[in-house]
């Protein structure tokens, strides 16, 4: 067919060039596994955020922890705790939870290696549904799979709380994310709101409810969590207050920004409902920075039609991916001298 307008030698050249693309893609696919395993395999405990500081200390590295930077409002110079190998070895992990501290995340580089994706609902719990029959559990799983492919392509390790259509209590999702020792947790949901005309995206991070409407969202999303009320109290106590909340807020901001700009191009009436905090069970129990993204409103007929299209779902996944990348890229390592200025003793 091409030879009608193309010389044979040109055709051969073009084929060779195009073929090279296919081969490159396959070789990269083969290399990915080995690369990921080489780069990201570490003893399981090393994935934990608090434990990383201890790891560095045990290796004889001085780690600087800025204490209560938030409580002092940042007006005072951050106090610096010097952790020696001896104290680190003796410090119980539980102690860290009892005395939550805000760690300035840029003081040392916390590389993001593993992301756990949590497709909302599943199995007998379909989540929200559209008049067309489209159900939330299918959309969330599909978007999560697409996002996983993008993350894996970028050489991140990815875990999924569910990879098929099964019901999972929120408690199980939390347990899985923690067992995976993920660095980030992204829960994917689809909104359904009373204002049928609204097309919107919003992203949540852990915190007090921003208002009565948010409390209602939290109530809905916390249904079937598998947690008792007393568990909630304990979970809230266990929140690694400073760094995790701050990191989650930044992560939510980047993802929301990217999601809105990525979808707005194809969905001009989309409304940016912004970043909000809410006491969502799935975010309370997870030990790493985490967000819950409401990627669209299935209650809006036009948006439900868009959600039924694979290219729109791919766009959602790509936008979340871009947001995650922006967050990761923003985590620049601090200059080596930054900590020394405030170092106390040695």
């Amino acid at each position: 067919m091409l030879s009608e307008s193309f010389g044979m030698s040109e055709l051969e050249k073009l084929k060779k060039e195009i073929l090279r693309g296919a081969i490159r893609e396959n070789v990269e696919l083969l290399d990915d596994r080995a690369y990921i395993e080489r780069r990201f395999w570490r003893p399981r405990w090393q994935w934990r955020w608090p434990a990383r500081a201890l790891t560095a200390a045990a290796a004889g590295v001085v780690v600087f922890l800025s204490v209560n930077a938030i409580s002092t409002g940042g007006a005072e110079k951050p106090e610096v705790l010097v952790v020696t190998p001896g104290t680190a070895a003796q410090a119980p992990l539980a102690g860290l939870h009892q005395a939550p501290r805000a760690i300035a995340p840029t003081l040392f580089r916390l590389e993001v290696g593993k992301v756990v994706l949590d497709p909302g609902h599943g199995g007998a719990d379909p989540g929200a549904s559209a008049a067309s029959g489209l159900v939330e559990k299918e959309v969330t799983l599909d978007v999560a799979r697409r996002l996983r492919a993008l993350l894996e392509e970028a050489r991140f390790q990815v875990g999924m709380t569910r990879a098929d259509d099964r019901a999972l209590a929120l408690r199980e999702r939390v347990a899985m994310a923690n067992a995976e020792h993920a660095d980030l947790f992204v829960s994917i949901h689809v909104n359904s709101i009373p204002q049928k005309e609204a097309r919107a995206v919003e992203t949540y991070f852990l915190g007090a409810a921003d208002g009565p409407q948010i409390a209602e969202v939290a109530r809905i999303e916390n249904q079937g969590s598998g947690y008792s009320l007393s568990d909630f109290r304990q979970l809230l106590d266990g929140v690694y207050a400073g760094v995790r909340q701050e990191e989650s807020r930044r992560l939510a901001g980047e993802v929301q920004k990217s999601l809105f700009s990525g979808l707005h191009e194809a969905n001009r009436e989309l409304y940016d409902r912004g970043v909000k905090s809410a006491p969502l069970a799935v975010l309370i129990g997870t030990e790493m920075p985490g967000i819950l993204v409401e990627v669209s409103c299935v209650s809006n007929e036009a948006e439900a039609r868009l959600l039924a299209r694979t290219d729109y779902r791919q766009r959602i996944a790509a936008s979340i991916f871009q947001g995650l990348r922006s967050y990761m890229d923003s985590r620049e390592p601090a200059p080596r001298t930054a900590g020394r200025k405030t170092e106390k003793g040695s």
């Binding site: 060039e17 073929l19 696919l29 697409r146 894996e152 569910r162 990879a163 098929d164 694979t310 791919q314």
Partner: protein, 339 residues
């Protein structure tokens, strides 16, 4: 490096509904993408095989744990059986090509673009070890390569699980050059099933019968002849008229396909749009729906007109393209893809 005689190159189209293989030794085969394992020892004694494929699996389905592993164009996850089904299906296809003893098999497998996009690693893991070296490509790309349709062409591959669109711009297609819809053969079958059930509630039929009826009689636009099929009513074979249901079900493809085709066209460099419009090729089983190319041409008429043609040999076009890729890939590149 192995000599030509020591190598068997194969191109495989791993489809949701059918899978085909063509090989450098001239053999070509097609099987329906069903894989079934006997459910128990009794079933195993009856079917006399540890695993069944294609039509044979379908016909013995009451005794089998039957899998159609690429439903909706994706490898099903969370089920080891579905991953095993993909692997076994590929092994079976390669065995049909009959490599001689000691001959190394270098295979190019075309899969629905969506499978490649969403579960690439999963797919790669599932097919690991079925050939001595293996390359996975998207189905529409394999079709384009086999037809030398590499420049200013749009391939619309209407499969069972998905319809894949791919614009060939003289480069290996990127995400921007491709689209996927789930409006495809299976969706038409579901529609047809619903419509026929509503019109003939007393008749008994299965989704497999519906699929066969569609493959034999699918059309859009004016019917050439009434569509009559036979199905049991109270146990008695009865002739049913399903002409309007067939038309309605098949025409559900026209709007989304037209819309996506025009959207993708609008993203082609303006100076090349006309050439692409004149080179729209329909591939896959759905390309055989009568009147579909004319309906898509009608949509093109609104933007200056164009030509939509079903390709020849749609059953084997993907496998032929895969074989062409396998033969053209240099030996040193195959070495990188071993294992």
């Amino acid at each position: 490096m192995a000599g030509k005689k020591d190598l068997l190159h194969v191109g495989i189209d791993l489809g949701t509904s059918r899978s085909a293989i063509t090989a450098s030794n001239g053999s070509r085969h097609v099987v329906e993408s069903y894989v079934g394992w006997p459910v128990d020892m009794v079933a195993r004694k009856v079917v006399k095989k540890p695993i069944l494929f294609g039509r044979e699996a379908l016909e013995n389905r009451p005794m089998l744990d039957l899998h159609r592993p690429l439903e909706r164009g994706l490898i099903k996850e969370g089920s080891e059986k579905d991953e095993a089904a993909v692997r076994e299906l590929l092994r079976h296809l390669i065995s049909l090509a009959a490599p001689t003893e000691g001959q190394k098999v270098q295979a190019v497998v075309g899969v629905p673009a969506e499978a490649l996009r969403v579960s690439r690693q999963n797919l790669r893991t599932a097919v690991k070890g079925v050939a001595d070296a293996l390359m996975i490509v998207s189905e529409p790309f394999a079709v384009a390569y086999g037809l030398d349709a590499l420049l200013h062409t749009m391939i619309i591959d209407i499969g069972a699980g998905t319809t894949d669109f791919c614009v060939m711009n003289g480069r290996y297609p990127t995400e921007e050059d491709q689209r996927t819809l789930t409006n495809a053969g299976d969706a038409v079958d579901d529609q047809l099933m619903m419509l026929v059930k509503a019109r003939h509630p007393e008749a008994r039929f299965s989704i497999h019968m519906i699929r066969e009826w569609k493959e034999a009689n699918g059309f859009v636009g004016e019917p050439g002849a009434p569509v009559h099929v036979t199905a049991p009513v109270s146990g008695k074979p009865t002739l049913l008229d399903i002409t309007s249901e067939m038309r309605k079900a098949c025409e559900t493809l026209v709007a989304p396909l037209s819309e996506t085709m025009l959207d993708l066209l609008s993203r082609v460099e303006p100076e090349y749009q006309e050439r692409v419009r004149r080179n729209v090729l329909l591939a896959g089983g759905g390309s055989q729906i009568r009147g579909l190319s004319a309906a898509l041409e009608k949509a093109l008429a609104n933007v200056g007109g164009g030509s939509v043609r079903p390709i020849e040999d749609p059953v084997f076009a993907g496998a032929i393209g895969g074989l062409a890729i396998a033969l053209d890939a240099p030996g040193e590149d195959w070495e990188q893809l071993a294992g």
